[in-house]
Symmetry: C2
Subunit: 335 residues, 2 copies
DNA sequence: CTGTTAGCGCTTTCAT
DNA sequence: ATGAAAGCGCTAACAG
């Protein structure tokens, strides 16, 4: 492995001079600078970031923890984060918790030993509090993404789940629907609670009763067992519309309805939070509250880097990104 | 920051003893081992992987470079890689080249300075040769994924593009199609060449003429400008079926056909390589040659780690994962 | 079973 | 404008 000492020897200078050339610090005569540069080229020198990190006490690595790498919301977010990080000279260490606190903890340990300079964290749920406190204890700058965790204050980039949910449900109400089901994520997750709140608010604002038999709690991941949907569909007064709390839940719902021979939107309208990815736009038909996923990542990195550079810092900032209602053909007038 | 010296002092032992406890090496009395462990807990000690890497000359970091993080083929592959890497105690540094050689080079430089122990590399194209040679020059173990690069030998995990293409085209032929178009990726990419070869072979085996007006070269990324499809559709003897060389091309094709009011599969059948992701299975209708994406990642990591652990190694291994023909409703008998 | 020494590749500080 | 020495946190090699 070529080190600055190898370069130094060949150039008849000290290692320090080489270091200065690499980092463009201090005063160096143009002549030696050129010579050193040439020799670095010749010898294929590549700086060793480990050694550098050890002395500088910074790694230039940020970590991004998401909960589902197969979900287009998170992959788009990841792109935003990646682009922003690279632009600022940071590497990005990915982690995928799979909505699972055990895996999440493993990643937190990984971040600690890797001495990442900061963490972009989409928590698996309220149980992530412990992990966040661990990071905080080790003084690692932290930005929460998409979900908040009660009892933990920090910089955050969030969507407006309540508002988006309210808009989706009011859209359905405006189409004449009165029996609207909510297929929700786990209430352990802040967005699920806020989407429920938005759902309730829309009902109340429109003088519709809240019927808890119309509300089911799943998880945000693709689900296989849809048997519990039957209870809901077999009510005396079954729903004419379903609000799925995220894209994967919507897919599960639509599949389940298809399997039961229930046409969408003819018999039941379906709307959901989060758009589907590029790959599903063959037939863009889902009415959604789309979130600016790329921005989540990009702004998150920006907040994080600002926090790293000014650790003292002002108060925590909370960025709320509004969702956009996109009406397509999966929702229509109640028949 | 807590170091082994802080622990050592508090435990009245030497730093070496602490190191031995951490790494479970050498002989240590159960008593001191316990004492040291307890103190590490108390002080929230976390080993510094930078320091460790510097002396051990290994980082326990692998790098995964893919060409499109929004494509479900690659995200599924990434999951396979991630799971396998974590199981073996490695971290995974992600990179997304976007099918772009400039970005790819930046990632290669990043891998070099980060001193990753090995690289899982899905090359952007034949032009990646230079980057691969750079990695090789620095003795970094390397596994090629999904695509090969002429002139570069190494371990690889590939699909069987030619065979899959042949099967898809023969499927169309068996449905009575005689005018079959190929919308291909860039010929700079090995899989595009192999898919073309499979396409030609199927035609030849069935005594159908090869007509280069039926073949168009796009790129594997989602495309916006579909005007060049018009030439193809406005031929005197237009295609009755289209073979898209990957999932995103198929989506582009179907969108373009929809925009022109051409019904699929009634007027034109469409088939493609690679399945769409979970998020598009709302209406699973594309006939595809599906590849075991998860396996690509998992086996790639396995080969890579074996290579790292036994650098001398045997000859390079080439794993070929066969695609599976899944017939759905986007292809039907020629009308 | 435990400790001492040296050094991984780099940069900071202080000289010159 | 350049260099020497020391040290970041850790472990291999050798001592005892």
């Amino acid at each position: 492995m070529v080190t600055i000492y190898d370069i130094a020897k060949k150039a008849n200078v000290s290692a320090m001079t080489v270091s200065r050339v690499i980092n463009n610090t201090g005063r160096i005569s143009e002549k030696t600078r050129m010579k050193v540069k040439r020799i670095m080229e010749e010898m294929n020198y590549v700086p060793n970031s480990m050694a550098r990190s050890l002395v500088l006490q910074e790694t230039k690595i940020l970590s991004l923890l998401i909960t589902d790498i197969t979900n287009p919301f998170y992959t788009t977010l990841a792109r935003g984060a990646e682009d922003a990080a690279k632009r600022c000279g940071y590497k990005l260490l990915f982690g995928n918790s799979d909505e699972n606190l055990i895996k999440e903890k493993e990643y937190v340990d990984m971040m600690l030993t890797a001495r990442v300079d900061g963490v972009l964290f989409a928590p698996a749920g309220d149980g992530s509090l412990e992990h966040l406190n661990t990071l905080r204890k080790h003084n690692i700058p932290l930005v929460l993404l998409d979900r908040e965790v009660p009892g933990f204050e920090t910089d955050m980039v969030l969507g407006d789940s309540k508002d988006g949910a309210r808009k989706l449900v009011e859209h359905l109400i405006s189409l004449g629907h009165k029996r609207i089901a909510l297929i929700n994520g786990a209430l352990q997750v802040s967005t699920a609670r806020h989407r429920l709140a938005g759902y309730k608010e829309a009902l109340k604002l429109n003088d519709l009763p809240y019927d808890d038999r119309l509300v089911a709690e799943f998880g945000y991941k693709p689900f296989a067992d849809d048997s519990s949907l039957d209870e809901l569909l077999q009510l005396d007064d079954p729903p004419t519309a379903i609000f799925a709390a995220n894209n994967f839940l919507a897919i599960g719902v639509i599949r389940a309805l298809r399997a039961r021979g229930i046409p969408v939107p003819e018999q039941i309208s379906v709307v959901c939070f989060d758009d589907l990815g590029e790959s599903s736009v063959i037939d863009p038909f889902l009415t959604v509250a789309a979130q600016p996923a790329y921005q989540f990542g990009a702004l998150g990195i920006q907040l994080l880097i600002e926090r790293i550079q000014d650790k003292s810092g002002e108060d925590y900032r909370k960025i709320i990104l509004p969702p956009e209602l996109i009406v397509r053909s999966s929702s229509r007038e109640r028949s």
